[in-house]
């Protein structure tokens, strides 16, 4: 595969996209997991699917849209979905988790309609669902790079606010930081990272790349920064290993990446069990 990467542009695209996603998805995932918002990532990925399906459908029927990268529409839908979730959470103050199934089913419903209108599945849509090593274009790679720069810069600049908001929301508000604005920026970042990740891991498995490495990391690490570090290491290991397996076994990368992440999680649980036994 190494020689292939040097040789073929499509492999370079997939590989570099993978490395970037292996960094930003678990990084943002740490904040998502500790705030118990894992399901929001799932909901938003299904809204992104609706955007992709809409774009594929329109590309088929209107010349103007045929040149448009479906990723943009997926991004727009997912950010729109994020804003909508926040609105719903203020409407249903006492049932905040209700926003998630509403958005999730709305996203799938809309996707099904567009898929039916476009006359069913085609291979393109399949690659969006489960990821692909061959379908990542150079334009996708540039979009993913742009998103990652935005996300990395934002987390770097707002780390202490994001930490405080994640650790103790009530206290964060009491100290007078702009909690609402920060939360809004956070949720938009989640939407963008989902859009960026779906090309490689696929829409159905995006949220797992944000949660599984973090779930493994929390078992082992001491402190928040170490949790981030281990999450990113596990994320990168899953993505790189998964892409290699996918390439050699001719499988969709979504499956191989997620299964490696699951394996890492199981190993960390086992290690923790053993070290606890030894301590007793």
């Amino acid at each position: 595969m190494i020689s292939g990467i040097l040789q073929y542009e499509f492999l370079q695209n997939a590989f570099f996209s993978g490395i970037i996603i292996g960094l930003i998805a678990p990084l943002l995932g740490v904040f998502i997991v500790v705030r118990r918002l894992s399901l929001i990532a799932d909901a938003l990925s299904h809204v992104a699917l609706a955007g992709i399906a809409a774009s594929l459908f329109m590309g088929k029927n209107f010349a103007f849209f045929s040149g448009l990268n479906p990723l943009y529409m997926g991004m727009a839908f997912s950010v729109g979905g994020a804003i909508f979730i926040e609105k719903l959470r203020t409407v249903y103050k006492h049932y905040q988790e209700l926003a998630i199934p509403i958005i999730l089913s709305g996203g799938i419903g809309l996707s099904v309609i567009f898929i039916s209108l476009a006359d069913g599945f085609n291979t393109d849509l399949f690659s969006y669902l489960f990821g692909s090593v061959s379908a990542v274009s150079r334009a996708d790679l540039w979009t993913i790079i742009a998103i990652s720069i935005f996300v990395l810069l934002t987390i770097f600049l707002m780390y202490k606010e994001l930490f405080l908001l994640s650790f103790d929301e009530e206290y964060a508000k009491a100290t007078g930081i702009a909690a609402k604005t920060i939360h809004f920026i956070f949720i938009v970042m989640v939407a963008l990272v989902i859009a960026a990740s779906m090309r490689v891991v696929g829409i159905l498995l995006v949220s797992s790349l944000m949660t599984l490495p973090v779930a493994a990391s929390i078992r082992l690490s001491r402190g928040f920064k170490q949790t981030i570090l281990f999450s990113v290491i596990f994320g990168e290991a899953s993505v790189i290993g998964g892409l290699f397996l996918s390439y050699y076994l001719d499988l969709a990368p979504g499956g191989t990446i997620v299964m490696i992440a699951v394996l890492i999680l199981l190993v960390t649980v086992l290690i923790k069990k053993l070290s606890n036994l030894r301590a007793v």
Partner: protein, 261 residues
């Protein structure tokens, strides 16, 4: 004392949730250096009063002045440290060290798009030492006992050098043998010049720890020094909660009756 600007001044403050009155015509003054205990049964409006002082709720009637300034204009939140009822807002599985938790207390003071400086880490260590937790700097917060966690949250509040520290039921979750040293620590902070407000339902425990007492049950039924409070209590004359029985047997079953009075 009276000519010094009070730290908190509350005039004719009322608050209602939908149809239910929670606070009725509260008047309260807290001077610098005081250690005020606010006592009251569950549902007496203690938490609402704290949320109003902290700016988490807006007053509907009456006014709150903090450090001489109307709360609507008040911008110096870092002068107020807050220790919430731990169980409400904190995820005990959160992967953060004591150091990281305490450093988050500086977030607002440092400001957006700015970073911790070297002298901040000194401040953080000093605050951790002030609550006697220096041995646990690198431990995850979830590994500590309830009392230790509460000390960490006090350090988080202290790190921004507040002039006023507000504690909401701080001894909930602190085991009995550590409660005494916990109050010792609070008294020491108070002697060092920090004004303290502590909310509790534990009326018996506090009168020898604090300098002033306010008894709240929707309205303020008593407000004075802890010495006056002791006299009132032993005389049994006063309607401290608007219902004398509570004070004698502190029976939770009667609290709702009291609330209706």
């Amino acid at each position: 004392m009276k000519n010094i600007r009070p730290i908190i001044e509350i005039n004719h403050l009322s608050y209602r949730y939908e149809r239910e009155n929670v606070l009725e015509d509260i008047n309260l003054i807290v001077h610098k250096g005081a250690f005020l205990g606010i006592v009251g049964p569950n549902g007496s409006g203690k938490s609402t009063l704290l949320k109003l002082i902290l700016g988490l709720l807006r007053p509907q009637n009456g006014e709150i002045r903090l450090f001489g300034e109307d709360i609507k204009q008040f911008k110096d939140q870092h002068k107020i440290g807050f220790v919430s009822q731990k169980a409400n807002s904190f995820n005990s599985g959160f992967p953060a060290t004591v150091y990281e938790v305490v450093s988050s207390g500086l977030t607002k003071k440092i400001g957006m798009l700015r970073f911790h400086k070297n002298e901040d880490s000194l401040k953080i260590k000093k605050a951790i030492a002030a609550v006697g937790m220096e041995k646990f700097v690198d431990r995850n917060i979830g590994e500590l006992s309830g009392g230790q966690q509460q000390r960490v949250f006090i350090a988080r509040a202290l790190v921004s050098d507040p002039e006023l520290l507000i504690l909401d039921e701080p001894t909930v979750g602190v085991d009995a043998e550590n409660v005494h040293s916990f109050y010792e620590m609070l008294s020491k902070l108070n002697r060092d010049g920090i004004t303290l407000i502590m909310v509790t339902h534990d009326i018996g425990a506090i009168s020898d720890k604090v300098t002033n007492v306010a008894c709240l049950n929707k309205a303020l039924h008593f407000h004075g020094t802890s010495h006056e409070f002791e006299t009132e209590k032993t005389n049994g004359m006063s309607d401290i909660y608007g219902h004398g029985v509570h004070l004698l047997n502190h029976d939770h079953h009667h609290e709702h009756e009291g609330a209706q009075l």
